[in-house]
Subunit: 286 residues, 4 copies
């Protein structure tokens, strides 16, 4: 069993995480986490905060001689502008913003200053989760499992499905890494960038859609035997726990809901070597 | 902390569930579960199995003198056709069906007969979960919380959003209870029914979309303080653990993803009594 | 991860348990549980209730063709005298007994009739746990692991340590199975039986001490990496959750507390084949 | 639900802990943890390491303006001699010590250098748990609950039960705080100190016994309704997870096991105000 806890406020001294249950003998150093932490901070239109931080995670425990020991792994990401904030006199915040935990947090925990909710509810918390996920990614890589993601729509500007379909997942990952909108369909980049720019000028925000793909996963993770072992629910729950995520689908589920079962299942064939194979990936691989 | 386990195979002697953590003093009897179990079995186009069962749950523990005692609640739903199946000679099943746990289950657990996976992976398991949910519904009703659901699309035939918007949630629930497609937009019923009928003639299946609404919930359930306390993720995870569910959204999330933030948030106003209120419900209430 | 829930009242219709996480392919039938359930009911001086029941567990789920399937295992033990109690008019119980959950249960859950606490707090609940443990014992037996226990003291009448030390654990188990006091030191049986008899005449009860030994266990269960993975704590917690257990020690811990470290550790030697061995078992093997 | 994880090696950069689930609004600062951390380090005969450290815990998260916020509390205790160890060339350790995790850890996790097991298995880990417990103690103090402990025996030198019985628990706590053996029976201090000294001269160790008492606890914590909610088992499990603890009893359980039930129960009386009271504390208060 793998489990983790995170802690840390947006303008506190540091974010921390403890990841318990990682096996021993996995090569791991702080360098392995740098890429993912940097990716979290690169994006067109991101707030100034993102640029300031340049997060670095220190591994405080669970790793000796660049190998995991099986003991809990402690990760620490200092908030580099903490010193600046620590001694500032900050006005209490009293007007709750919609779409944030300001109001609910204050009601639930009895905060007088809404800033107390904001400090922990901030998406900055995900930096700790990115660090934890990065360790898990190193473990999965040992088994040839690769996880990637890319943006397919921003504020209604959508990548072209046909152009996406022409690309392998690895290519989509690579192309997404190459631009600050993280979109593999290069032909819509300009329109996406304009959409974000217009939005920033209007001091507004826009939603978007991204896809996550896992390659090289063996079958049999999760299980049908009990509701809380089902992979579908666990994935939806995990992704849905990220700030600003309001919907998750496996494959093009909402589109598929309008179709016949025979159009959305992935038929099982026997290949020439007698192995069972599927020629399609309509239902997201679960 | 509420927790539960379910057990039972589709053609075994019974489904069982144990629900631990329910408070004492809640009025509860088997009658309270009958409605929800019956609803699970009523639907246009459902398999013959559904009609045979007419599920009844017995409460074997945790309730004395029609009140919960705080002790674990044991629920038992007998499979009425078990006797018939028990002595039957059944051919082992060797061809896995796509979209089912047949193949993965066999690979993971080493089954030779795919029927072993099917027996537990069957959606019949949800009868046990419906019974558990029904007990929880009785608890929530004590606090004035009401949960309902209704179908908004079947195989591409969609309820009209404007007609839905003209109905209160309570009315939608009531209208949905009144027909075997569980759709509150009566004007599309005929088209939906035809879609299902055509599909049955073609020995195929169709997907669909349904909405769940919870009324009367106080703010502050869930929390921003830790990723696994966030209500969004927990709801997505719970709903996503149900068979055949491949996507979940809070509000019209995928539609909202194309919009500006100002178009999808629910602004907070002060009413004449100085209370904070919202006049819209665009983002699903979370 | 193995987990289980139990339910059931002392005079309710049945005790049930669901055990989730058992691997597939383990040969298992209701007969495998009979021995352990019977042992729970055989003891000199036990109440009349014990004799009436002759518990039998039915396996309602998780086993097909006498093999576990990996699905949750549901166990049902009917209370044979339920029919008799169901329709009886029973006086509410209003005087709490010391050493029972009567008072605390009533305070915590708001019971007016103390019998409600008693019904679940009764040691009869352990029948469900015995059935669960019995399934686990079948699993462990596949790996050559054997668990046994025996009584070493009743009401101050103690088995002789030197005579015990002269017996292998297997012999102690076998001798204990052979008498209704479950004591392997046959020379104290008479005195123990007299102690129990005197106590019954005085309408009193007596305490006692028993030892549990696990044979054939591979090293490395539990772990030093996190407090809640430590085997010592987990064993103490599990045994301590049984009714009437007020103290647990690993080896003769309380006796050892008066000794030097060098007297209680088990020195590690290299045997002629170069394997690491221990020649003593002073600290209970952990 | 309160939960926590700890991390950290004995000679690594720091020990950390994250405590999740603490309510908001509790006054808390690093000073509150200093006493308990210091107490862990003061004892006659302790290793030199203890004296070096003078542990200080920093609170990195979960507290703002000296009040808990409901967010996870992150605690960091730096290992002050880390810098010294970091660059040292240390011989791998290849001879396992009995009574430690050296051998089992290496077998389980595949360590070549036994020092890897030792680093996490070290009792230094308890410093993180002391810090976590210290936060919980502050919470309990709000409800008037006081926890204390004292030594009653070291290497066979025992405090006199009659002298202990003459002291209130508060007095025992206070007396124990006053000496480096933490024993409230001042008349045995000399003998205890001599025992430890002799033992140190012989380069050996000795065991001991200590008692923990909780004052002011309301009834109804824990529950009879499910095995893993029972307070007895949870306390035994928690205490048993501490290094070097091999036995735990509630009250004088092992002594009581030789007695009649009527001698060890605590009879329930009605006082003049009609309240239920107990005049004895024979069975440890559970």
């Amino acid at each position: 069993m793998l489990r983790f806890l995170t802690a840390g406020e947006s303008h506190g001294p540091a974010l921390t995480a403890i990841l318990e249950g990682m096996p021993a003998g996995l090569p791991l150093s702080a360098h392995d986490l740098a890429n993912d932490l940097a990716r979290r901070q690169t994006s067109y239109g991101a707030g100034g905060r993102m640029k300031i931080e340049q997060d670095e995670a220190r591994i405080l425990a669970g790793v000796m001689a660049d190998q995991t020991t099986g003991a809990p792994i402690a990760l620490l990401i200092e908030n580099k502008d903490y010193a600046k904030w620590r001694d500032k006199e900050i006005e209490p915040m009293t007007t709750p913003r919609p779409g944030h935990a300001d109001l609910t947090g204050a009601v639930k925990y009895g905060y007088r200053d809404l800033r107390v909710a904001l400090e922990r509810a901030s998406a900055r918390e995900t930096a700790a989760r990115v660090a934890v996920g990065s360790v898990c990614r190193v473990l999965l890589a040992q088994f040839g499992v690769q996880i990637g993601s890319y943006v397919t729509a921003i504020g209604g500007v959508e990548a072209d499905q046909a152009r996406l379909d022409a690309l392998s997942f690895s290519d989509r990952f690579a192309l997404a890494e190459g631009n600050d909108l993280r979109c593999p369909d290069l032909e819509v980049l300009e329109a996406m960038r304009k959409r974000v720019w217009d939005c920033m000028q209007a001091r507004d925000t826009v939603g978007g859609v991204f896809e996550v793909a896992v390659l090289g996963l063996p079958p049999g993770l999760g299980s049908h035997v009990h509701f809380d072992r089902r992979l579908g629910g666990r994935l939806l729950g995990a992704v849905g726990s990220i700030h600003a995520i309001k919907g998750v689908e496996i494959g093009h589920a909402f589109e598929n809901a309008a179709k016949y079962g025979t159009e959305v299942h992935d038929e099982i064939f026997t290949d020439e070597d007698g192995r069972l194979v599927r020629k399609t990936n309509r239902s997201g691989g679960l």
